[in-house]
């Protein structure tokens, strides 16, 4: 009786699962051949090993984040301890704002240059311990143009488009 119920539950699970993430030892066809026919008559299969069925499922989060504002920023001026940026929100409204450089994650300092883009957001986060407010400033991970790139670009251009290309 216990086996039969388990088999039915698993069969239902198999039916509703859209994604099967299987161990390397078991291919999708094996799963189909070994499990599905066995479950359809209510009995458990024999000899199935290392079968992993992945069921898409979202656990109920204990947190809820509500966005209060989100901006796209562009750095326009660097100062010793701060930088100036133009911020644009999702409706297209712009503001000029000065940020303290301490707002930047030390690991991202090399991403801060004139013209750098970043996102800046303020949100509230409801947790079991109460409400928190979060600000995030994330610079886009773009490379700044360095002088040594010039010679590399020239070499590449010479290789792709040699001067004698059209000397037919």
């Amino acid at each position: 009786m216990k086996q039969s119920t388990l088999a039915v539950d698993l069969n239902n699970l198999y039916e509703t699962s859209y994604a099967s993430r299987l161990s390397p030892l078991v291919k999708a066809n094996d799963l189909e051949n070994k499990i599905k026919p066995s479950f359809s008559d209510g009995t458990l299969p024999n000899g199935t090993e290392n079968v992993v069925i992945f069921q898409n499922w979202h656990r109920e989060s204990r947190m809820k984040e509500t966005e209060l504002e989100w901006w796209l920023g562009k750095v326009t001026e660097l100062r010793s301890d701060s930088f100036i940026a133009v911020l644009e929100d999702l409706s297209g409204k712009t503001n000029i704002v000065e940020f303290d450089k301490n707002e930047i994650d030390p690991r991202d300092e090399d991403l801060l240059f004139i013209g750098a883009k970043f996102t800046y957001s303020i949100s509230s986060l409801d947790k079991p311990t109460g409400r928190e407010y979060i600000t995030r400033l994330a610079l886009s991970a773009r490379r700044t143009w360095l002088k040594e790139y010039v010679s590399k670009a020239k070499d590449l251009a010479d290789e792709v488009l040699p001067e004698d290309l059209l000397n037919l």
Binding site: L44, V52, T66, L90, T119
Partner: protein
């Protein structure tokens, strides 16, 4: 899954065509730039919950999956499903309350990645609905059976229609036909296609809210015109 939800439009599929870099679209990138709230992403980054069944040597893993590779990205967020390859960006949302989040998600991505070339985008609504009135009765209001059709295919044959038109900037394709997944139901499929008239992405980031509102309003009006909804298919098999 069939529900008796009376809301007409619950499913939206957004598709953009262009040239994309799926490798960027990692859940941590979405978290870093506050593109989605934490509850949408935390399940993707958590280890799956495992349930072992020693009797048959099986393990069931419950979780949310994502896949990010140079050529394609998949992510199953709480409110919608994202699929991106080199030429196509697609997001599918199956709950109407997720539509505002869907729109801000798309706008934020292409504001942060403005250099992404997008040639066109489409807003699609596909609904399998059973109305109080029978499907054959509703379909016959559009077109009557041609004697040639009945002679060739018999009196009991079912058929559908496609209508192509242009509404403001959108090329609209409306498809109505008997549902293959809901008995006596109708498949209503609306596609609103927008070509990019310029070299930047402002046609999307500046206009998406307006285009979406127009598309949803028209589609809702059409669905409401068919009368009372009895049932609709809530989730389609992927």
């Amino acid at each position: 899954m069939v529900s008796n939800n009376k809301q007409g439009i619950e499913r939206c599929i957004f598709v953009a065509l262009g040239s994309f870099n799926p490798a960027i679209l990692h859940p941590q990138w979405f978290a870093r730039h506050s593109i989605l709230p934490v509850e949408e992403i935390e399940g993707l980054l958590a280890e799956p919950f495992k349930k072992e069944i020693p009797e048959i040597g099986a393990t069931i893993e419950f979780g949310s999956r994502f896949l990010v590779e140079p050529t394609h990205a998949l992510a199953n967020f709480k409110s919608f499903f994202l699929r991106v390859d080199r030429g196509k960006f697609e997001v599918k949302c199956e709950k109407q309350e997720g539509f505002p989040l869907l729109l801000s998600f798309i706008k934020k991505i292409f504001l942060v990645l403005p250099e992404t070339p997008i040639s066109a985008y489409g807003i699609n609504f596909d609904e399998h609905i059973q109305f109080a009135e029978s499907s054959s009765s509703i379909l016959s209001k559009f077109f009557s059976k041609n004697p040639i059709v009945t002679e060739l295919f018999g009196e009991d044959c079912n058929f559908g229609y496609k209508i192509y038109t242009k509404i403001k900037e959108a090329k609209v394709r409306f498809r109505i036909e008997p549902s293959q997944v809901l008995e006596d139901g109708i498949l209503l499929s609306m596609n609103f296609h927008y070509d990019n008239p310029s070299s930047d992405n402002k046609f999307l980031t500046d206009m998406l809210d307006i285009h979406f509102e127009d598309a949803l309003t028209l589609t809702s009006k059409i669905v409401a015109g068919f009368g009372e909804i009895k049932e609709r298919v809530e989730k389609l098999k992927k």
